[in-house]
């Protein structure tokens, strides 16, 4: 077990976004997280990555409680994420976007980075360094090599989603949290995205994926966890989730759909 949540609860004012949710992610698996809008999926990712703190409960990463850590500290432990609305850096080139993810790989203080930059320590150089090599490798991996010098703001939507994944991978994560990586993409782009996610997983990186596109999530996940109004209503293999009556009622809605 790489990541575990115990009794995780989060309130926003009078609204309970997550209610005593238990979850666990095994090392190397792809865990799908589904649920209707407002079920608490993104909230859960934000809680894990330190953007919010839970009101109660524990989140353990490799056995250690990570509640209360700030997002950058969580990332340094090996948890990386993407955002539902892409947060790439528009005025940076595609290559620099990936490089930005490499800056903290040696976990130095900003003063150290500044000093290294001034004395031109080869480690921090941007051109012809090991860092650049790694950044190019990652661009190749997501198929954006030819756009390396383009500003990120000029990329088509589907590509900026991939760029964000490459940037997240640059931090060398053990677990990657993907918040709706296929939303807004056309079927072909969705397929490409599935291929990329599979290949990331094949490299031994654990994945938690939030997704609305059923085809994608059923296709890719080893296990699925279903949230409904902040509560966990089901957990299991994709086939089991398909047949689960509570899930069908809550999420897929009509009985007609359930009977096919």
């Amino acid at each position: 077990m790489i990541l575990e949540g115990i009794n995780v609860t989060r309130w926003f004012g009078g609204l309970c976004a997550l209610k005593e949710v238990h979850f666990s992610i095994e090392d190397g698996e792809i865990l799908g997280l589904i649920g209707p809008n407002g079920a608490g999926k993104t909230t859960l990712i934000n809680l894990i990555t330190g953007y919010y703190a839970p009101n109660s409960g524990q989140i353990k990463y490799e056995g250690k409680d990570i509640v209360g850590l700030s997002p950058h500290a969580v990332n340094k432990l090996g948890i990386s994420r993407t955002f539902q609305i892409v947060r790439t850096f528009p005025k940076l080139t595609v290559l620099d976007n990936v490089r930005s993810g490499l800056v903290e790989r040696r976990q130095r203080s900003p003063w150290r980075v500044a000093l290294d930059s001034i004395i031109k320590n080869p480690d921090v150089q941007m051109i012809g360094s090991a860092g650049e090599g790694r950044a190019l490798e990652l661009l190749e991996f997501v198929g954006l090599t030819e756009y390396r010098d383009e500003l990120a703001e000029n990329l088509p939507f589907a590509y900026s989603k991939r760029l964000e994944i490459a940037r997240a991978l640059a931090t060398n994560p053990k677990i990657l949290l993907l918040d709706e990586p296929s939303s807004g993409l056309n079927p072909k782009e969705q397929n490409d995205q599935v291929t990329i996610i599979r290949r990331i997983n094949e490299q031994g990186i654990t994945i938690l994926i939030v997704e609305h596109v059923m085809k994608v999530i059923m296709d890719i996940s080893h296990r699925i966890l279903v949230l409904h109004y902040g509560e966990k209503i089901a957990e299991g293999r994709p086939e089991e989730i398909y047949k689960n009556t509570r899930v069908i009622e809550a999420y897929l809605g009509s009985e007609a759909y359930a009977h096919g």
């Binding site: 994420r81 850096f89 528009p90 005025k91 976007n97 930005s100 800056v103 900003p110 930059s117 931090t171």
Partner: protein, 325 residues
């Protein structure tokens, strides 16, 4: 290869031209403007590091400038410290004050941070106005010693009272500043700053400790601003609370915007162009009897924002801005 040689010879010619300038034009007033431009280059570049590269709109930059000037001047006047030590010390003291803006920037951004920085600089300006025992209030400090003469072997003495000699001191420090800022910006440090400017949440998600970066960059920027202030104090040898005023900050802001915000050489171009422009237009002030300088600055600023977002330097850049842009 030929292109490279051409570029290299152009650079060498440029350097020779800069070095020979005070000899080409012997006019002392012209040389005075050159020195002022050089000091402004340090000041504008340091502001650009914050506002241009890190997205931290500091409207209290004149405070750092003033702190550096007052610190070095007071150390020389009260303790008899050599101005050569006063220069870096002025920078370091200013850098410590940088912490006071760095910490609020953890949680404040955009207009909220801007207002805080204005408050910060106004407080310090009022202190410099009213702490009469130390600063002589609005009368300012006068009789600040010039940079001590350098004794070279064989009895050669280099004095820094003349504009011409001070020019070379300023050129050296301005080049050094640009060199360091260039290294900072075109490396991983610069990538972190820019990513922070672009998207703070995104930066945090890839492990960048935005708070610590903000603090660091505020301190670095304040150091250079303080250093510029100290240079100014030992050059003009008379400083007043005017140095910490908002109009000083807006002068810097206009220079950077007109030259090119977030570009390495924008602040240089802006500093030189506006220093000469505002002095060149001084004759107008006698005619219209008002401070025409800020009217011109305002008009320039508006023109820049409307018609050339990336300033003068931006006009010469390619559309896609690579890492070397």
């Amino acid at each position: 290869m030929n292109r490279k040689l051409f570029k290299l010879s152009l650079i060498i010619l440029g350097i020779l031209f800069i070095l020979a300038l005070p000899f080409i034009i012997q006019d002392r007033y012209f040389q005075h403007l050159l020195v002022l431009s050089g000091i402004f280059i340090i000041l504008t570049s340091s502001w650009n590091l914050l506002a241009g590269y890190s997205g931290l709109l500091n409207l209290g930059h004149a405070a750092f400038y003033g702190i550096g000037g007052y610190s070095s001047a007071l150390l020389a006047l009260k303790l008899g410290l050599s101005p050569w030590i006063g220069l870096p010390l002025g920078g370091i003291i200013s850098s410590i004050f940088g912490i006071f803006l760095g910490i609020p920037s953890f949680r404040l951004s955009g207009p909220y941070l801007a207002i805080t920085t204005i408050g910060f600089s106004e407080i310090l300006r009022l202190v410099s106005m009213n702490w009469v025992d130390l600063t002589r209030g609005s009368l300012g400090l006068y009789g600040i010693p010039p940079l001590t003469s350098l004794k070279l072997p064989k009895g050669i003495l280099i004095k820094f009272v003349s504009e011409q000699n001070f020019y070379y001191v300023v050129i050296i420090f301005a080049s050094l500043t640009l060199f360091i800022i260039r290294r900072l910006v075109y490396s991983e440090f610069g990538i972190s700053l820019r990513s922070m400017r672009e998207d703070e949440m995104g930066s945090e998600s890839i492990g960048i400790d935005t708070s610590r970066y903000k603090l660091t960059v505020f301190m670095i920027s304040a150091f250079f601003a303080g250093f510029a202030g100290a240079l100014y104090a030992h050059y003009v040898r008379l400083i007043s609370p005017e140095m910490l005023s908002l109009s000083e900050t807006f002068t810097v802001l206009t220079m950077v915007m007109v030259g090119g915000l977030g570009t390495l050489y924008g602040p240089v171009v802006g500093a030189v162009v506006l220093t000469f422009l505002s002095e060149g237009l001084r004759f107008l002030e006698d005619i219209v009897k008002l401070n025409i300088r800020f009217v011109i600055y305002g008009a320039l600023l508006m023109t820049t924002i409307l018609f050339m977002r990336n300033g003068i330097v931006g006009l010469f850049q390619k559309k896609t801005q690579g890492t070397k842009g």
